[in-house]
């Protein structure tokens, strides 16, 4: 079926924001770096917000958006709610950070933002688990959504750490996280696509190839940065690009193979 | 000055208007862009909706329709649940009536060509100017060259008043009338089946098959031979056949194409196009060989026991042999072992030999007609038919058995397919012979029944003067009638007062035997419907005056016409129609622009000729001469409507004082009970005449005449009912070749069979056509809903053949015959046999405004491939040319023809253009 670009970009961009913040929190919890910085918080917030706005461009009647309050159990409502909560928590975190709150409070709020954000990235994929589209109806789909977002978010984190000239240990861990993120993203994407291999071969082969190459590039960059953090900036740039392409390719492939059970009206979605 | 090119600008303007209209409607809470109510609760507040009971004319079936009219506009159509035939059903064609009515492509006013013929430059003129200018040319040629200068024509599509061109010719006093149907559609069946069975033809689409609509219909087996109820009069025919089939009636469908009815048949015989008569002969042989024929009926009520003169091939009359009177025929009596006269109706003391050869009192020998038939069909084994028809012998046998099991409560309907090839007359004969052999006539459940409109005007209230009254002063003079082009060779055409199209074209091309100058045409698009359309176009470009009467711009108007006169859609006309025991009414729901019922076009032309001194035209307005039965020509539409009311009253309700208002006040209503209607047919030949004898059948012998020696007389004398003098009046009617009393098979002139003389390896595939449920003839190619459903003609190709040619589903194709090439789009399907290609007629109104309007009839029109030329032989009796079963080649094309519309949104410019009720042409012109 037709590629829904605004939905592709929505989940990629907002997913990057959520996982950037989460990666930064992981580094802090691993005591390899401080808690997420102002810049990191702002970037994560902006990515989430821009992503959210991109999702709205998919709608034809934004003026009626408040009608969504009528049906608070739908996938779209849940996604919107979670992106809103994540943004709010990051905003609170930022304010607390600016006001110099204690590490304990910051860690608590930051952890909450990271957890909700990460769940959000999986929820984005879960919304597509529709019985009507058998190839989508697998847990591998939300996993691929969440973990390709993780691949991208961790790569952005690597880039940010290097750009902020953090300690080598921090950049090194960021490289490791990027490696793990992209490996996970690649593995679950592969599981998802292998589950639909016949249609993938028929309809989405170029994007699948792009996904694999881009993810391998990203994970290779992560691996090198892990061992050679001094190259972090360049590797971060390349890893971000690769992971971004991989995340996009996974989603595009998903749309292309999303044939419904029966499609009698052949009514295009755009 | 208004040109069609400018019209295209206004069409774009219309799109904007449409968008504006829907924007307004959206604000008002109702969407009326298509003049359709969506939320009646709101819509009802805008004005009262009137529900008008009327009858459709999107095809020939006249289904009952309820038109919803609000503020003078038709806003909705639906089937009339109280109609006895369609019972509420309405098909896509009928429902698209709104889009035809309000189509921006309507011819709205009389128009006169201002550029070269075919340049599509037009000037709007008044009705008065149009009628007078046309009449001037007619009168000039009439005085100079006589009535032969005129050719009129009509067609089955687009609300025709079938007989009005022939009616006009009877007043005009001569000339030629043609219809692309006629010899190619319905005339062979309508005439020949009636001649043989003395009762009625078997066309389901055209109305005579009434039995199936009766409550508790007894039909056990229905053989649909080239008949597609689901694709022609669908609301009536499709509905009723479905009903019966689901209630257990068995069906056999013989059709090259897997139609919806073929798909549900107990046996589908996917016959090779053009070979039907071969199959019929095999059925006849099987029935005779296996002694399955109806002894009682055939012995007593057919001419098969009669002895036949081996020289003249006519059945002997008793007086020829000194055995009895002229009215009696001759049989061989098994009891007395002697040749005897058979008195009418039947002498029970005689035991006629059905088969054999016997010595006559004059020493000659003679065979019975049945013996001749038996020998005639002897070569047609199931195996031979299977080979010729590309069928399986076992399945042919199974089909015959299913038919025979149902007999006599069974029957065969013959569709248009066989009318469209050189074996047309023989197929009609074969159909009639089979039902006669099985006694499937005038018994409950039989298809052949004695209640339809074989002589009653019924469908055809408006008739040529003198049709049923040979001495009528306005009947076409005999010498002129005999001079009709092609009539001498093909006398069956006389039954419909028609001329032979290829001979008309030849006369225009060569001036021999005389040159027609003026062509007045009233139908949709001859260039799409006539065989070998290029030849037709070339000929008609050379005439001196072409007038086109129609509702919509077509290639006939744009490419050929000098004057274009707007006629009325069925929703704008008043008429009458029987629906079984009910008489229904067509009521004008609105009248747009200056369009007017065609009966007024012809009336106005007659009036203008009368003004110029044309005596017969003057007489046609004189009630003392014209008479009440035919009515005068009409000065106003009201006069015409009153005539229709009078006719229905006098013919059906036994009252002489009806006018339109009386009819309108009670229609539709029953003119007899359904029981009377049903029962009047059963065994009606046994009803006593004034002498107490059974009335018999409507034939010369009063028996059915499966051995139709009347065919010989038809050729010799032109007597269309097969009677006629024993002495041919050759001085008046030059003899044709003797027509054959028995059906005989001719291989299609162009044959796909390797080794046949007609085979050409360059054209290895055989093309057939067939009806689609969304179009009727050339109509509805410009109504968005129907074109959206079927945007381009599909060429159906069996997967095996597709592989052979190297084409895939959806490929655009070139189809080419010896006469031309055109395009279609491949549908690779098991709905047709290998080597058989199906494509329906098509034309593209969207190309009318292109740089080359001729492409509108050339781009995707299989009639560029069909036959209408002397090289390809015609049927002897009717002059039928070949539309189905021509040989073609198929190749892959690069793409669709340039500029054709294929996507739903493409048809937006044809969405309805809201228009007021103006009263039509009657409001601005009256003679």
């Amino acid at each position: 079926m037709e590629i829904q670009w605004s939905l592709v970009l929505f989940t990629v961009v907002s997913g990057a924001g959520a996982w950037l913040f989460a990666s930064s929190m992981i580094e802090a919890l691993a005591k390899k770096d401080e808690l997420p910085t102002k810049v990191e918080s702002i970037v994560a917030f902006v990515l989430l917000a821009v992503g959210g706005c991109l999702s709205v461009t998919h709608l034809k009647h934004v003026d009626r958006i408040l009608e969504a309050l009528n049906h608070p159990t739908s996938g779209i409502f849940v996604e919107a709610a979670m992106i809103g909560v994540t943004c709010a928590l990051i905003a609170i975190y930022f304010i607390l950070l600016v006001r110099g709150s204690s590490n304990g409070i910051l860690t608590g709020v930051g952890l909450a933002a990271a957890v909700v954000g990460v769940i959000f990235t999986f929820a984005c994929g879960a919304s597509y688990m529709m019985d009507a589209r058998a190839v989508w109806c697998t847990p591998a789909l939300p996993a691929a959504y969440g973990l390709t977002a993780a691949g991208l978010g961790t790569a952005v984190n690597l880039l940010m750490k290097a750009a902020q000239k953090r300690e080598a240990a921090s950049v090194s861990l960021a490289g490791l996280l990027a490696l793990i993120g992209s490996i996970c993203g690649l593995v679950v994407s592969a599981v998802f696509l292998l589950g639909a291999r016949e249609v993938v071969v028929a309809l989405a082969m170029p994007w699948t190839v792009a996904l694999v190459i881009a993810a391998v590039v990203a994970l290779a960059c992560g691996a090198v940065a892990w061992k050679k953090p001094e190259l972090g900036l360049a590797l971060g740039v390349v890893a971000t690009a690769g992971a971004c392409i991989a995340a996009i390719a996974m989603r595009v492939a998903m749309w292309l193979v999303g044939t419904p059970l029966l499609d009698f009206f052949l009514m295009p979605l755009d | 000055m208004e040109t069609v090119a400018q019209t295209s600008i206004s069409r774009r303007g219309f799109v904007k208007l449409g968008m504006f209209a829907s924007a307004v409607a959206a604000m008002a809470g109702t969407a009326t862009s298509n003049l359709i109510e969506v939320e009646p609760a709101l819509a009802d507040e805008s004005g009262e909706t009137q529900k008008i009971r009327t009858i459709c004319r999107a095809c020939l079936n006249n289904c009952g329709i309820i038109a919803h009219v609000r503020d003078g506009r038709v806003v909705k159509l639906e089937g009339d649940p109280d109609d006895p035939m369609n019972k509420g059903a309405a098909c896509a064609k009928g429902l698209a009536g709104i889009q035809a009515l309000y189509n921006p492509n309507r011819i709205k006013y009389p128009m006169k060509r201002v550029g070269e013929r075919g340049s599509n430059q037009w000037e709007r003129i008044s009705w008065e100017q149009a009628i007078n200018e046309i009449a001037d040319v007619m009168w000039e040629y009439y005085q100079k060259e006589g009535p032969k200068c005129l050719v009129t024509s009509t067609g089955g599509g687009g609300n025709p008043q079938f007989f009005s061109p022939a009616r006009f010719l009877s007043v005009w006093g001569g000339g030629n009338f043609f219809e692309p149907g006629c010899a190619q559609c319905y005339l062979p069946r309508n005439h020949m089946e009636f001649c043989l069975n003395g009762t009625a033809d078997t066309s389901l689409a055209d109305g005579p098959v009434t039995e199936v609509y009766l409550p508790d219909c007894q039909t056990k087996t229905y053989v649909m031979w080239g008949v597609g109820p689901s694709t022609h009069g669908i609301g009536s025919t499709g509905r009723v056949v479905t009903e019966l089939r689901n209630n257990g009636m068995k069906t056999v469908v013989i059709d090259p194409r897997l139609t919806p009815d073929a798909a549900r048949a107990d046996v589908w015989l996917a016959i090779r196009p053009g070979t039907d008569v071969a199959l019929m002969l095999a059925w006849m042989r099987y029935i005779i060989d296996n002694d399955l024929w109806n002894k009682e009926f055939v012995t007593k009520w057919s001419n098969l026991p009669f002895l036949v003169n081996e020289e003249t091939r006519l059945t002997y009359r008793a007086d020829e042999l000194g055995l009895g009177s002229h009215d009696e025929y001759v049989i061989y009596d098994n009891k007395t072992k002697s040749v005897k006269a058979m008195p009418y109706p039947f002498d029970e003391s005689l035991d006629p030999a059905m088969f054999g050869s016997y010595e006559l009192p004059n020493g000659k020998t003679a065979r019975t007609a049945f013996q001749i038939m038996k020998e005639h069909v002897d070569e047609w084994t199931l195996e031979k038919a299977a080979e010729v028809c590309w069928l399986d012998a076992g399945e042919i046998e199974e089909a015959i058995k299913i038919y025979v099991e149902g007999c006599p409560n069974a029957g065969i309907s013959l569709g248009v397919a066989t009318d469209q090839a050189r074996n047309s007359a023989q197929a009609a004969q074969g159909d009639a012979v089979l039902d006669i052999l099985m006694g499937c006539i005038r018994v409950p459940g039989a298809i052949v029944q004695d209640r339809p409109c074989y002589v009653e005007p019924c469908n055809y209230v408006v008739q040529p003067f003198g049709l049923h009254h040979p001495d009528h002063p306005l009947k076409m003079p005999e010498a002129e009638a005999n001079a009709r082009l092609g009539y001498t060779e093909h006398k069956g055409l006389g039954h419909w007062l028609a001329s032979h199209i290829p001979t008309v074209l030849k006369a225009i091309e060569t001036g021999e035997p005389y040159r027609p100058r003026i062509w007045i045409e009233r139908s949709g698009n001859k260039l799409a419907m006539i065989g070998n359309a290029s030849r037709f176009y070339d000929a008609m470009m050379t005439t001196d005056l072409n007038v086109h009467m129609y509702m919509h711009w077509t290639t006939t108007s744009v490419c050929l016409a000098d004057y274009v006169l707007p006629t009325a859609e069925w929703l704008e006309t008043n008429y009458a129609q029987d629906r079984l025991n009910t008489y229904a009414i067509r009521r004008a729901c609105t009248q747009l622009y200056e369009a007017v019922d065609e009966c007024m076009h012809w009336s106005w032309l007659a009036a203008a000729l009368a003004e110029r001194g044309h005596q017969r035209a003057i007489d046609s307005f004189n009630p003392d001469i014209a008479g009440k039965f035919y009515g005068t020509y009409w000065k106003t539409y009201e006069e015409y409507m009153d005539y229709v009311g009078y006719f229905v009253g006098s013919f059906y309700y036994g009252t002489e004082d009806w006018d339109w208002a009386t009819f309108d006040a009670q229609a539709p209503s029953e003119y007899e009970t359904i029981e009377q209607y049903a029962n009047k047919s059963y065994d009606s030949h046994l009803e006593p005449d004034e002498n107490g004898l059974p009335v018999g059948f409507h034939t010369t012998s009063k028996r059915t005449e499966p051995y139709f020696d009347g065919n010989i007389l038809l050729g010799l004398t032109g007597a269309v009912d097969g009677s006629g003098s024993m002495d041919p009046a050759t001085d008046v009617f030059p003899a044709s070749d003797n027509y054959n009393p028995l059906p005989y098979y001719l291989e299609p002139f162009e044959s796909p069979v390797e080794g046949d003389p007609g085979y050409d390896a360059n054209y290895p595939y055989v093309l057939t056509q067939g009806r689609l449920p969304v179009f009727h003839h050339g109509t509805l190619r410009n109504t968005p809903w129907t074109r959206e459903l079927w945007p381009y003609p599909e060429a159906w190709i069996n997967p095996e053949t597709a592989r052979e040619i190297g084409i895939e589903d959806g490929d655009w194709l070139w189809l080419e015959s010896k006469r031309g090439k055109t395009q279609g789009r491949a549908r690779v399907t098991k709905s047709v046999a290998p080597k058989v290609i199906y494509q329906e007629r098509f034309w593209n109104p969207e190309l009318l405004d292109s740089d080359d309007p001729n492409r509108a009839w050339q781009a995707m029109n299989i009639n560029l491939l069909t036959q209408n030329n002397d090289e390809c032989p015609f049927n002897d009796v009717y002059g039928t040319y070949t539309l189905r079963g021509v040989c073609i080649n198929v190749t892959k094309a690069d793409g669709a023809p340039e500029g054709v519309w294929t996507e739903p949104k493409d048809f937006t410019p044809w969405l309805p253009e809201p228009s007021e009720n103006t009263g039509g042409g009657n409001a601005v012109y009256g003679a």
């Binding site: 739908s74 029966l262 979605l269 | 098909c91 459903l789 098991k830």
Partner: protein, 213 residues
């Protein structure tokens, strides 16, 4: 159990003659734009060995699912089940045009109104049925193949059509937990139900044996 009606259309495929009258009737009644549709008749391409092929025409429209995925995924409740009639309907004024319902529909029988930028679908002509009339596609059907009514009401046309059919002739479109209400009657005399085996090639619907490759 809530006493909600189960209104739907039942189609007797033994009687559907593929004439598309229902499509035009629907467009006329509901002002459905060109290229859009609330109902569509597709032909299951002839399958089997020529000439012993089998084919039937399959009218498709909203199947009025009991577990309707469209209403579940709709973020605004624009796709909803009417309390009174049990009908799955669209309130176009609430529709934000996200098209999730179109993705969730297992049969692709929802339509996109390009002019209004909202999702639409078969309403069972509820403006007519509320007034005691039949839906336009039902009353104009040339094969008398369509029946409307409440399956819980044994006297409805839909219930009677089902009751009159052999149990083994009653079929449904493949059910992925959505429980479509619409039933299709196809008896072995006229055809073989092959929708589970149906794949789509361009605009054609073919079974494995009907494949034209």
């Amino acid at each position: 159990m809530p006493s909600m009606a189960r209104n739907c259309i039942v189609v007797n495929l033994d009687r559907c003659i593929g004439c598309w009258s229902c499509e035009v009737a629907c467009k006329l009644e509901n002002d459905v734009a060109l290229g859009e549709r609330w109902n569509k008749v597709v032909q299951v391409e002839p399958f089997g060995e020529f000439p012993h092929v089998s084919t039937y025409w399959l009218p498709t429209m909203c199947q009025q699912c009991e577990e309707s995925p469209c209403t579940h995924v709709c973020p605004t409740g624009a796709s909803y089940r009417d309390e009174q009639t049990g009908m799955v309907l669209v309130n176009k004024e609430k529709c934000i045009g996200c098209k999730y319902c179109m993705m969730a529909c297992p049969y692709g029988v929802r339509s996109w109104n390009e002019e209004q930028q909202v999702v639409e679908k078969c309403t069972l002509c509820n403006h007519l049925t509320a007034a005691g009339e039949k839906p336009a596609c039902v009353k104009n059907c040339c094969g008398t193949a369509r029946y409307y009514g409440d399956l819980d009401d044994p006297n409805s046309d839909a219930s009677k059509a089902l009751a009159a059919a052999d149990a083994d002739a009653v079929h449904k479109l493949p059910d992925v937990g959505n429980h479509p209400l619409t039933s299709y009657i196809l008896s072995s005399r006229f055809g073989e139900w092959r929708v589970d085996d149906l794949t789509q090639q361009t605009s054609k619907y073919v079974t494995t044996e009907g494949s034209v490759d």
